[in-house]
Symmetry: C2
Subunit: 450 residues, 2 copies
């Protein structure tokens, strides 16, 4: 065992209904009947907090696709859910996906400022640009915005949101009862943003929040995505199948930071891992096989069709993949397309084998083993330049998270790689990230600022 | 005292930062430093629940105006706040304002469905069309939508939201682990709405919620507003200054229901009342005067300018109102304009007197007296055809709510006018309103429904 290092890794629990494995809901250890019960999510959040994890995270999409036939899909509006969890947890960070393509900066900035106040500084925003035409069609558009244009809009969106968060100085609220001055208008200012995609007057109608800004997270690993991350993100969720791929991604993204005047430590890279845990390696592998055996091939084929931008319906499951388009022709998740295509090519997988490989993590790395073996993997990636921490994606819930917290976390703690108590109060403090300073105020005029 | 009646009144606690009086935050009994602390709102919600009230309600606006200098304005995104309160209450309904002018039906339907699940069937939506240009300017528009057009959009918005709530049948989730069937696609269907204002494919990505639809509340009392209420609303918040006005409004709205095939009991009318409570009448009046003395005239004048669509800046406070526009030329809150103009005219008020009269309830009725006197007023309006219940607007918080719960509610209970225990489980059950039946499903096609 290598010596304890003063550098500590970060752990985020990525929570998803019955678990990340697409057949989890069919497994007898899961509770899919509880995925609309807040107590279920409360228990999960409390389990993650018991493990002293940095944060929990809910992904999100703005459409339900037809494959709800075969999986426990759909879910609560994530800020609504996270607020409900804020009141039953004390320390753990609360991160949710919100799309910049189908929202307005005023609403989004306000929701995160609200959650940050309500949670005492524990809000995080996973910024996504959304990837499907089904989402566009729930918001009055027939087609999805082109990939590059989505990122243009995302940049402007985050700029506006940031201006709104900073539209109140930290000390704007005076509460001078004697003089009748509630807030100092010199420290609350309009935003007066007029850009390509948005025109927003401001100021926000919520005072500046405990963290100043929520933690900004990003999860796209395309060229556009990596550049966006380097400019804005403070944590990155990424899918990497091998240590070498992880190292290369890590170096690539960290190297981009300097051009935005940022240091390497300003952004934490958190590859996903779906840990299939057993008390022996054989037990872990048996559990993995059990989950694979529960997969519904039509579901896997439909999901794969989506990832590959190619209709695979009716192709023989035991045959190879058909010819695929180029990444440049993919308008959804470009990096996931390339990862999956590369995985199939490299390992020469049939459709059935590929569906099995993707079942646990949708392209994220799946690793089956004992707690010790899993800790070894995390330590290797962390100490060998592939990760600042991990996005932990339990294959089934709640047991898969409980096993991680009760059996893997203590090993990481024993090795000095992970905190044994929370030392910070806010999500930013958990990740060792600074609180953004407010901008200097300029006066807001009475009535309607110009 | 009249005999106890089997008909019971309904009580909603309208919560607002330091209280409804615009000078409340300056009063030593309030806690304006806590209006960004969730525990403050939790305590208020728990107090209302201790009083067995039907619901709590948060109003909302999508802009901060310059007058934040003199009042504790601004606040949390209301669904985010209500979810945080859902976890610390058991029975009380949770109602929030969401604008149909600056939102998308998919997001709004989803947030209320989420809150309804998270709260076990306690969500209510106060449907507003928003009234100010400052809000428009936070959403890329230079001017506010015209009043009639806002209501056109509101009707279509609610239609789409309703279709989305009904896009899952109640029994759509099968959870057939053996066959791998999570949901029955025949019971989850697209919405395929294409209208004047919205195009929404659906289905919603949240299963049908405990109440089916949230309770639909409406608060506009203009002609457009009353007609909208008659068609859609299940509860109406309204500002009425006198019993006669209240009776006339009550009769007017109830009479409109038949043309939409609805019965009088399908809609509950809840006039606002700002109860200034004292153990003697003199004590109540002294408290009212104390609050009046704390008013900041510039604040009152600015708020009055907004209500009257007329810039009153610089006019002598002890002089009369200037000539006012006609209601038809008001593009904000038409009914509030008329109420305030009428109040000033009828009672021959100076600007200063009008500001004092509006300080407690912004046009809602203010009544100062003992608990007994307040109960008498509520009983009179309830038994004489002006109210099915009341929107209780404590002038200051938390004390004004505590006094109402501890001293007025027991009198209403003793008179048999109000419940002594919750008998229902959902907000609809508290108000004696039925759960809407789901619509018959038609099949969703695989992939992208046409």
């Amino acid at each position: 065992m290598p010596p304890a290092s003063p550098r500590r890794l970060h752990l985020n629990a990525f929570l998803m209904n019955a678990g990340h494995h697409d057949a989890a809901w069919r497994h007898p250890r899961t509770q899919p009947e509880r995925v609309t019960d807040r107590r279920y999510f409360q228990e999960l959040a409390q389990t993650a907090e018991r493990g002293k994890l940095d944060s929990i995270f809910f992904a999100d999409g703005l459409a339900l696709w037809g494959k709800v036939e075969h999986n426990a899909l759909g879910g609560f509006e994530p800020l609504t859910l996270l607020s409900a969890l804020a009141t039953v947890t004390e320390h753990i960070g609360l991160i949710a996906t919100v799309s910049t393509t189908f929202n307005e900066p005023f609403h989004t900035a306000r929701k995160f400022a609200s959650l940050d106040h309500l949670s005492g500084g524990r809000a995080g925003w996973n910024i996504v640009t959304s990837g499907t035409v089904d989402e566009a069609r729930n918001f009055g558009r027939d087609e999805h915005l082109e990939h590059g244009l989505r990122y243009d809009r995302a940049r402007e969106f985050v700029d506006v949101a940031t201006k709104l968060w900073d539209s109140w100085e930290d000390d704007a609220v005076l509460l001078d009862r004697e003089r009748g001055i509630y807030a100092d208008l010199g420290r609350v200012r309009p935003v007066d943003h007029r850009g390509e995609h948005f025109a927003v007057q401001g100021p926000l109608n919520v005072p500046r929040s405990p963290q100043g800004h929520p933690l900004l997270v990003q999860a796209g690993s395309s060229e556009d995505g990596k550049e966006f991350a380097a400019q804005y993100a403070e944590a990155v969720f990424t899918a990497q199948q091998t240590l070498a791929d992880g190292q290369s991604f890590y170096k690539d993204v960290k190297n981009r930071l300097a051009r935005y005047g940022r240091a390497e430590d300003d952004l934490k890279i958190l590859p996903g891992i779906c840990p299939v845990i057993g008390s022996t390696e054989a037990e872990a592998r048996a559990l993995e096989q059990e989950l694979t055996d529960l997969q519904v091939p039509e579901y896997g084929l439909a999901q794969l069709s989506g990832m590959l931008g190619t209709d695979l319906t009716g192709l023989p499951l035991d045959g190879p993949l058909p010819a695929l388009p180029e990444e440049r022709d993919i308008n959804g998740n470009k990096s996931r397309f390339t990862l999956v295509a590369e995985l199939a090519r490299r390992d020469g997988l049939t459709l059935r084998e590929l569906i099995a490989r993707l079942g646990g993590g949708r392209g994220h790395r799946v690793f089956a083993g004992t707690p010790e073996q899993i800790a070894d993997q995390l330590e290797a990636w962390f100490t060998q330049g592939a990760a600042d921490g991990f996005n932990v994606m339990p294959p089934y819930l709640p047991g898969g998270l409980e096993d991680f917290v009760d059996h893997v976390v203590p090993i990481l703690q024993d090795r000095g790689l992970f905190r044994t108590e929370y030392t910070g109060r806010t999500l930013r403090e958990h990740y060792g990230l600074p609180r953004p300073a407010g901008r200097r105020a300029r006066p807001v005029t009475e009535g309607q600022p110009a």
